[in-house]
């Protein structure tokens, strides 16, 4: 479980995050949603410790992230996997070398054991046999899946995904969402996903936090999105006239069935 307590973050005079109190649960897809500039990426970077908050705390279970010394932080980070928006695969390495990198750096496994582990995670993300390809030789969707494979190769307790669907077609985006969801459930990982993809919200949002102008404007699950009367949420989720009509139709349908 990850918990934030009174997180504030400012850049010079500009306050980006204001009093963020959230809990992210294990075995669930925890979504941080919001419009561009709402502070989602800043919050995610604070959660993984890439940015220091101006004030406030982040707890991994009972461990205060920002009170750790470098060694303890390193230990904690070995339990963390992250999928970046642009995948962040190392261009000069093959897919296998990319996935093997954390194993090479932090384990004393033999080459054969590492290779077996790489094959396992590649199998898990449904990309067997692409070990020798370079990131530039595979599609954006495949790069995301390789990114996931690298993120889970050390069996992390916490998985962070920054805009996992950006730049992907809807079909591939659904595949990536389904993959993240199934990995989260089967390994009981605390998964935190930063997204503004509405499909992700409705499909995998077990625990959703909506950020608006740096504050938490709404929290709930995907089952509550349709019926919530929170205006900020409805403005954000059902932004287009088409989606608004769709929502009205869905609500009418629900009422008729009651």
């Amino acid at each position: 479980m990850i918990r934030t307590e009174h997180i504030y973050k400012s850049f010079d005079e500009h306050e980006v995050l204001k009093d963020i109190n959230l809990t992210f649960y294990p075995g669930k897809c925890n979504l941080i949603i919001g419009r561009s500039g709402a502070g989602k990426t800043v919050l995610l970077k604070i959660l993984v410790g890439l940015l220091q908050p101006t004030s406030g705390k982040v707890f991994y279970d009972d461990t205060d992230l920002f009170s750790l010394d470098r060694k303890s932080l390193q230990k904690l980070r070995m339990q963390v996997g992250m999928l970046f928006q642009g995948s962040a695969l190392f261009d000069s390495m093959t897919v296998e070398e990319n996935i093997r990198f954390p194993l090479d750096m932090f384990t004393s496994l033999t080459y054969a054991e590492k290779r077996k582990r790489v094959d396992e995670v590649l199998e898990r993300v449904e990309l067997p046999g692409i070990n020798d390809k370079y990131p530039s030789e595979i599609s954006g969707g495949m790069q995301k899946r390789v990114g996931i494979a690298r993120a889970i190769v050390l069996n992390p307790k916490y998985l962070f995904c920054d805009e996992p669907n950006s730049g992907l077609d809807p079909k591939t985006a659904i595949t990536i969402d389904a993959l993240i969801q199934s990995i989260t459930y089967e390994r009981n990982i605390t998964t935190v996903i930063n997204t503004h993809d509405m499909n992700s919200v409705m499909e995998i949002g077990d625990n959703i936090a909506l950020l608006h102008q740096g504050r938490v404007a709404w929290t709930g699950s995907r089952h509550e999105v349709l019926t919530s009367d929170n205006e900020t949420l409805q403005d954000f989720i059902f932004a287009s006239p088409f989606l608004q009509r769709l929502r009205e139709a869905a609500l009418r349908h629900l009422k008729e069935n009651e």
Binding site: L50, Q74, R77, A88, D91, D104, M105, F160
Partner: protein, 248 residues
């Protein structure tokens, strides 16, 4: 301006402290160090060879011109070319050129990694990125650049020979006599002290510029340019300080 200078100097010291930590895994660092040695050393052989031939040749031709009609013996050309190559041109000119070639490359490599979130990715894995990305480069540069400078000094002396002996400025015997005249081993010490200091400066400054890149391609270009300009200025400053300290 002054505060900015202190800010960068402080941040540079903190980066160097993080970079000089004990490696997480020696084998990974060793592999990276070998890769950097290849990139810095083998990758710079041609340019170092070329500039060294011309440095020696120009020194020989110009000193021949200046000594023309003087009472100074002609074999002094060999002596001057040798000492100039060892004390100044091989360490300083070579490192100034390497600051341009290797320094800009290091800044661009690290800056690109920063922009593509590769550094963040490693950081989240638990890697000490300052150490893993900078220490092998520092070690490789401090080991390989003195080798390049040694080679440069030899090639400069050969360049001086080619420009003065076949053209009839002096005889083969005079040039060799000049090379063997008044040899002071301290000059070789000065060359290696300079080289190690310059290698550290050009690598550390370039890595600092690249590691903290923010923004897009324009900022990356600026970081590369800054890496070269600041390295060059610091190399020349260090050249003066070392010359003062070791020759006084």
């Amino acid at each position: 301006m002054n505060l900015n200078l202190f800010y960068h100097f402080g941040r540079f010291l903190l980066l160097m402290r993080a970079a000089l930590q004990r490696p997480e895994k020696w084998s990974m660092y060793w592999k990276e160090t070998l890769r950097q040695m290849d990139a810095i050393g083998i990758g710079s052989l041609v340019i170092v060879g070329l500039i060294s031939v011309f440095m020696g040749a120009v020194a020989a031709v110009q000193f021949a011109y200046q000594l023309d009609g003087q009472l100074v013996p002609r074999y002094y050309i060999g002596y001057i070319v040798r000492d100039l190559a060892i004390i100044e041109s091989a360490p300083t000119i070579t490192c100034l050129v390497l600051a341009g070639k290797v320094g800009s490359n290091l800044a661009a490599e690290l800056g690109g990694m920063r922009q593509k979130e590769h550094i963040d990715a490693m950081e989240i894995m638990g890697v000490n990125t300052a150490s893993y990305l900078i220490l092998p480069k520092l070690v490789a540069a401090v080991v390989v650049i003195p080798m390049l400078v040694t080679l440069s000094a030899f090639i400069a002396i050969i360049g001086g020979y080619l420009a003065s002996v076949p053209t009839g400025e002096i005889t083969n015997e005079e040039y060799i006599r000049g090379l063997r005249a008044y040899f002071d081993p301290l000059n070789v010490q000065i060359m290696y002290v300079k080289t190690v200091v310059f290698a550290f400066i050009l690598t550390a400054v370039s890595c600092y510029q690249g590691y903290y890149v923010k923004g897009g391609s324009i900022e990356l270009g600026k970081a590369s340019t800054n890496a070269v300009v600041i390295s060059d200025i610091l190399i020349l400053l260090a050249d003066y300080v070392i010359a003062l300290l070791m020759t006084s």
